[in-house]
């Protein structure tokens, strides 16, 4: 706990090292696939981008706005199904499918959010969780979109930028993922410095006080929920175009919603970089354990996830960023 009246300044990017690390990181991200040509490493990076984008969205509804949605997989799945379904059945380019997915996700987000965002605390969390389960059940039984077997996206070799299928190299997928993630980060950065971010955090910290200061709780919670849905939907579309086979169990599971929560927690909730850092730590751990244990489906990676999350929640609830912040403060104190 911080003692009363003590100096508790915000850690701004400058305090965390300034622009230079950011530029270095960007350059590193850009040249990465040319240095590490190994497909497996690139695969891990692509997954970090995709999950990182989804987690960025969750960070906005939960980390900034304080509404704990445990149903983000709903929108990931809608994004994945939209592109896949339109392409497999009508040959519509996934780029349009992606927009369609976002549109559907927004409509669904309003449909879910309007009634449930009035609920407080656990009731909202559990409501989103069960709506996620209902959605998965619906898709498993919805034969028109493939039922339990899902959708196999037809493999096409021509015109990769139209079909959003890159069979020769992972590099285009990598850059697309990187671009979307950068967009997500830029949006979060802008949002944090805008009225929107101010309102979201006010709602998170003290909803009553926020509404006494003219903040329309319903409208802004819904807005945060819609932003989160958009991010998840875009991530889902990319995932589908990358894996090319989707079914309800891979794009709608509860575990996916939870995974996003864990990533964000690990990195640092309500921190711009939190979700990305979390994804960048968790996914390689998952891959490494899978390789180490030979991928027998023994769930070793999840075991480590679960353990890590308990430790983080109990001892470092502000995630890795909170840890870094603490170290910096110690360094500052030692220096002064």
């Amino acid at each position: 706990m911080v003692t009363e009246g003590s100096d508790t300044r915000i850690v701004t990017p400058r305090r965390l090292g300034g622009r230079i690390p950011l530029i270095l990181l960007s350059v590193a991200a850009l040249v990465f696939p040319w240095v590490f040509e190994d497909a497996h490493t690139q695969h891990v990076l692509i997954m970090i981008f995709i999950y990182g984008l989804m987690a960025l969205g969750w960070n906005i509804i939960a980390g900034y706005c304080g509404q704990i949605s445990l149903g983000q997989a709903i929108f990931f799945g809608i994004g994945a199904y939209s592109t896949s379904f339109l392409f497999a059945n009508f040959g519509i380019t996934p780029w349009i499918g992606m927009l369609f997915g976002v549109a559907v996700s927004l409509v669904v987000a309003v449909g879910i959010g309007l009634p449930t965002l009035r609920l407080r605390g656990h009731y909202f969390a559990i409501a989103t969780l069960v709506i996620g389960e209902i959605t998965q059940t619906i898709f498993i039984n919805w034969e028109y979109v493939g039922g339990a077997t899902g959708i196999w996206i037809p493999i096409v070799w021509d015109d990769p930028w139209y079909t959003f299928q890159f069979h020769d190299s992972k590099i285009p997928t990598y850059y697309i993922g990187l671009a979307f993630l950068t967009g997500g980060l830029a949006f979060t950065y802008w949002m944090e410095r805008s009225k929107l971010g101010l309102y979201f955090r006010a709602i998170r910290d003290e909803p009553d006080a926020a509404s006494s200061l003219g903040v329309n709780l319903g409208r802004y919670k819904l807005l945060a929920f819609m932003i989160a849905a958009t991010f998840a939907s875009l991530a889902g579309s990319q995932f589908a175009q990358y894996i090319l086979v989707i079914d309800p169990d891979t794009v709608f599971p509860l575990l996916l919603s939870i995974l996003i929560v864990l990533m964000t927690m690990l990195g640092g909730l309500g921190q711009i970089w939190g979700p990305v850092v979390g994804a960048a730590v968790l996914l390689p751990i998952s891959e490494a354990t899978r390789i180490y244990f030979g991928g027998q489906g023994g769930a070793e990676d999840l075991m480590i996830y679960g353990f890590l999350i308990v430790i983080i929640s109990v001892f470092y609830p502000r995630g890795l960023f909170g840890l870094i912040e603490r170290l910096i403060k110690r360094r500052d104190n030692a220096g002064s």
Binding site: G5, T8, Y199, R201, A202, R204, E206, D208, L213, G270
Partner: protein, 237 residues
């Protein structure tokens, strides 16, 4: 400016407000007194839309504001503080104040500058980049005041401004409220400290067990038999 017309509110079997009826004129300071559980905070909740009355009406600038949400009422020009302080703990003092301003200005920098004026006013300017959870109780009270002022209310409802702060801070907070009036804000003030109330208020409403037992000038209230029995008697005897 504000007219409270025969408000009734009960929670379960408990009558929290019963036929509360008074008016607040523009530019005045109205004091609300009553022992704990008299229904003072409930009254504020009814006026600011956090609770819905069972019957009665609340008029602000001649129009009923019944049924509006708290944010709508704030946008009409009623600001408030809370008895149980509700700062935004994980936001800086500056950001706390900026929230109320965003309905009036579009630029963050503009809001920041104006926020500094309110922080200057309440004497918290040197704490502006501190997280609110790091403030003392007295500082939180000032922060709530600055934050409510930042929504530029015409009418400000202050819930126990001097409650729970040390004796040295009380006169400073009192002079802040006086300055509010000179700057043209109408104030309704819940106050336990009789001395503070006598020096500040133009009129006083006394509540007891949800009922309005007196309304009048401070001197009249001080001399009111029922008030002395129920309130002064209880805590000053």
């Amino acid at each position: 400016m504000l007219a409270v017309n025969y408000l009734n509110k009960s929670f379960g079997g408990l009558q929290a407000n019963q036929n509360i009826n008074f008016e607040v004129a523009e530019g005045e300071i109205l004091g609300v007194i009553g022992p704990n559980g008299a229904g003072k905070s409930t009254l504020f909740d009814l006026v600011t839309g956090f609770e819905k009355p069972d019957s009665g009406d609340v008029l602000f600038l001649g129009k009923s504001i019944l049924g509006l949400r708290p944010d709508q009422i704030n946008r009409l020009g009623i600001g408030r503080t809370f008895q149980k302080l509700k700062p935004f703990p994980q936001m800086t003092v500056e950001e706390n104040v900026m929230v109320g301003l965003m309905q009036h200005v579009s630029q963050m920098n503009e809001a920041r500058e104006e926020a500094h004026r309110y922080l200057e006013f309440v004497g918290l300017i040197d704490k502006m980049s501190v997280y609110a959870h790091g403030l003392s109780t007295g500082q939180r009270k000032r922060l709530e005041l600055a934050r409510a002022m930042a929504s530029r209310p015409k009418l400000l409802l202050l819930d126990e401004v001097t409650g729970g702060v040390d004796q040295k801070t009380v006169p400073e907070l009192v002079s802040l409220v006086e300055r509010l009036r000179t700057e043209g804000t109408t104030v309704v003030l819940i106050e336990h400290n009789m001395k503070v109330l006598m020096s500040l208020a133009d009129h006083v409403v006394a509540l007891h067990l949800g009922q309005q037992i007196a309304y009048g000038r401070p001197q009249e209230i001080q001399a009111h038999k029922q008030v002395i029995e129920s309130y002064l008697g209880a805590s000053y005897a």
